[in-house]
Amino acid sequence: MTGDRGYSSDEMMTIAAARALSGARACFVGIGLPSTAANLARALHSPGIVLIYESGTIGAKPPHPPLSIGDGVLAETADTVVSVPEIFNYWLQPGRIDVGFLGAAQIDRLANINTTVIGDSYAEPKVRLPGAGGAPEIAASCREVIVVLRHSRRAFVDRVDFVTSVGFGSGPGDRERLGLRGAGPKTVITDLGILEPDPNTAELTLTHLHPGVTVDDTRAATGWDLAVADDLRETHAPEPRELDALRLLDQPA
């Protein structure tokens, strides 16, 4: 998967996600790419970041990416392990967590997320996805949310088939009306670039292109007429130390 540039687009995506954690104190992490990115941030620039997995481990410091959120290495390296009711009620719900990391099967123009069903009918879906898990409340209660997913027209749709987790609802002011206390998805990181909500319309807008990617590439992979920021910037290419750290993490235990 490593391209001409010496790194793959997935590596660029993961490294951009790790960089986005700079300054975060506590991060609510799901398994897979979010876990890799969070542990990469811990290895690179945020040694003190508190990683919280929904299985109840607070301050986990896994030496290798866990296979699942039930991995013993999370419990054994954590500052403390609490019950699943406690992690959701005492730690996530009150807004103690700075950053929540989410994936998505679909995301729409207003950053609403679908991980439930593809198709018009919930009862008779085209594709049955895994469902909500912790996402709706992570999206509601973390101070901000980072979404990470690969860019494609199947994933980036004008309107999600099913709102599993609320981004900006139907537009500005909706989160406040719904009583969602976190700021929502402030950053959507893909293998092509970075999207951020427009300050006035909350619509996801292209703000960064990864090296070698064009606006047209990104528009072609987006299911709505993608707006581009006036000050569109290029993501810094991965540094060797970032790539080294990531590849070290990705090695099997």
Partner: protein
């Protein structure tokens, strides 16, 4: 007081056709052996309850045990879809499966309400999502002090909850540690509860982070070493990740699935 009995006896004593059954264990200490015993005994029309259905509910659903599923995340963690669950939902095979779908926060608070003897729980959840439209067990509730609108979910009180734990003593006190999930709540919410354990010991010396379920909170304890395989049992066994990956191919096809279940579950005797 919990009786220490065989797994076969424990399951046949408490699980009946039509029951609601929660097999819990949040990605750790998943009670596979107990699920397999239910498959062998052939109880039908079950309402299966579990936050993360995982491979064991894929197996139970594929084998036709369930008519309903109450859950919050139904995937093969780190691998992909649960093909038997999807086949039931998308194609009604081997029978229709009614879904009652929540988020983790909602499910876990439903267990908390059940364990607390309350009819419902309150949370900041679901607001603005489409889940409330498809799940009747999600309703708004207004704070009587601030008038803020929040969300209520009803208690879960399974007919039977089943967990796997590391150890029990001869009196039937059960101890588990590591990631302890929502097992305490699932047991305390249930009308009847069964624990399988890796081993029976003379004395349950206290351990950091351990949850102890007193014998009088359970009905049966059965000794089933490896009863969480292929999931983790901290201090006893690691996750068999190859199996989780292999399950994707095994479960994708109905016949391959059925053959695997015959060879590895149906034609295998229950643990003694």
């Amino acid at each position: 007081m919990a009786q220490v009995v065989s797994l076969r006896h424990a399951i046949s004593s408490v699980v009946r056709d039509g029951h609601s059954v929660a097999l819990e264990g949040f990605t750790h200490l998943i009670p596979y052996a107990a699920a397999h015993e239910i498959i062998r005994q052939g109880q039908r029309d079950l309402t299966l309850i579990r936050m993360t259905p995982d491979l064991l509910y894929d197996q139970m659903i594929g084998m036709g045990c369930a008519s309903s599923l109450i859950f919050s995340w139904g995937g093969n963690p780190g691998v992909g879809s649960l093909h038997r669950l999807r086949d039931a939902v998308e194609n009604g095979w081997p029978g229709p499966l009614r879904l009652e779908e929540h988020s983790h926060a909602g499910m876990v608070n439903r267990y908390v309400a059940g364990a607390s003897g309350l009819p419902f729980a309150v949370l900041r959840g679901y607001r603005g999502t489409d889940l409330a439209d498809v799940t009747p067990t999600i309703k708004p509730i207004t704070c009587p002090f601030t008038d803020e609108e929040l969300t209520a979910v009803p208690a879960l009180n399974p007919d039977v909850s089943v967990i796997h734990a590391q150890r029990a003593d001869r009196h039937g006190n059960v101890q588990l540690w590591g990631i302890t999930g929502a097992q305490k709540e699932a047991v305390l919410a249930a009308r009847h509860a069964v624990a399988t354990v890796e081993e029976i010991v003379d004395e349950l010396d206290p351990r950091p982070g351990a949850v102890l379920l007193p014998t009088w909170a359970l009905d049966y304890v059965a000794v089933v070493p490896g009863g969480a395989h292929p999931s983790y049992a901290l201090g006893y066994s690691e996750r068999d990740n190859d199996f989780y990956v292999a399950w994707d191919a095994i479960s994708r096809d109905r016949e391959t699935f059925r053959t695997w279940m015959e060879d590895h579950v149906l034609n295998i005797g229950a643990p003694a």
